[in-house]
Symmetry: C2
DNA sequence: TCCCTATTTTAGGCAAGACTAATTTGTTTC
DNA sequence: GAAACAAATTAGTCTTGCCTAAAATAGGGA
């Protein structure tokens, strides 16, 4: 239980921060198994065993052999700081620098490990203390509080349901491009309508691209068809009806 | 002469980039000796020997044992790209983010290794294709051209000389703070005046801080005394008289 | 020319982080 | 309860970049 205490000023390696971020993402109460972590980080399981041992020694995670890893308070703090950096950067790069969806993630993924606290604070100010990144993910506060996240998928709504877009899956940049054109951005109000209201031409076009579409009217716009695949990457807050 | 050719897309390590930058800075025609490089990078000479061997194998430098290292064309290209990143970032952090002189260098030193070409291009655009960083150092173009740099020090001027500030030594943030207050920023026109024109009170104050002051009038301002130490960190273009 | 000294290189080590291959453990199933 | 299988760990390697201590070398001065 060496639990080496180190300089508080010491910068953690990008790799270390990536592990903590990944554990934060994957843990939902239970410890994160080695294989899951290896999958998320796209490295070999044996490498994860080695690294998690070191992280445990440093007091950033707790490790139960053959079970998995859990963040300690110190580890959670680091993970949230990195996520805060990432999301502030994404918003900034989108709003101020004009990066595409494609470039956003990659750039933020690198820079999140290297900006100073002063830079973080200035971004926060410049962006007027935002609470969500461009995908709608909550930006943790400096003190580590995180807003609630939508869990319902647009694909699972029923005719007549009203909802507000919460966040979007950030896996696929092309899909985000498409969602932006559809107006399905975080904060947008929408209503699921009857399929009949949509013109046939649109239906054919959409159906070719993404099977089994759902008909949606975004506030202030015309009804449109949205493919199931697409609708599954849109997470919404269902309005009380 | 293995000269391993690698993926053109492969990102070089921060350490590699720092070596190339340091060699670029220190080489003036002749090869850079191991000890000089070790001093610049603040590491042991033996470490430099090891690393320069690897850089030579990769075709980024040429190495003559017991003589020193010289950049190849490929190495020069990398060095200039990194310097371009650094200087664009410094200007950006100063102008848009509002970093202090103190924070500037450190932040740019880290980020220069991690921004994308797209980011670099956007900074260049946002800043309206600048040619100088906040210290007055020339920003290399994408294609690797570098503007001329002033070589004359303010401290070495004579009474009556007129000059334009070229660049400032970036070693000491506090000094830069002071220079900014004096109006001695890159681009400023100035004239070296007689010492008598300066009030006695000012003289005493300045003399205590920095010995053997020089009297300077910055265009549009009053004559003031500038310590020799300070004046030695100001590089100027002497106006033809 | 020979020696002295500063510089450089070699030798040997260490930590981080990755890998593959081989082994161990836990779990499930018959 | 034993066999089978998946997951995890161990063992052993590799590269990068740094270190110290010891040996080699180059170049100037007597």
């Amino acid at each position: 239980m060496a639990q080496t205490i180190q300089e508080p000023s010491a910068r953690l390696s990008p790799s270390t921060e990536d592990y903590l971020k990944a554990i934060y993402k994957l843990e939902e109460g239970d410890p994160v198994p080695t294989k899951a972590l290896a999958g998320e980080l796209e490295i070999a399981a044996a490498s994860v065993t080695g690294m998690t041992k070191r992280l445990a020694e440093r007091g950033l995670i707790e490790r139960e052999p053959y079970k998995g890893a859990t963040l300690t308070d110190a580890g959670t703090k680091v993970a949230l700081e990195v996520i805060r950096h990432h999301r502030l950067l994404e918003l900034y790069l989108k709003e101020e620098i004009g990066h595409s969806w494609e470039e956003l993630h990659e750039e933020a993924e690198r820079l999140e490990h290297h900006i100073s606290e002063a830079f973080e604070d200035r971004l926060d100010e410049l962006l007027d203390h935002p609470t969500r990144d461009p995908h709608g993910h909550p930006i943790p506060t400096r003190s580590g509080e995180v807003e609630e996240t939508a869990t319902q998928r647009l694909a699972d709504l029923e005719d007549g349901d009203r909802a507000v877009v919460g966040h979007l899956s950030d896996k696929n940049p092309a899909l985000l491009e498409h969602l932006e054109e559809c107006g399905l951005m975080p904060g947008a109000s929408l209503e699921v309508t009857e399929a009949q209201e949509v013109t046939e031409a649109q239906e054919v076009a959409e159906a070719q691209a993404f099977e089994e579409p759902i008909a949606v009217r975004v506030e202030g716009g015309e009804p449109q068809l949205v493919g199931r695949v697409v609708a599954r990457s849109v997470f919404v807050f269902l309005a009380a009806s």
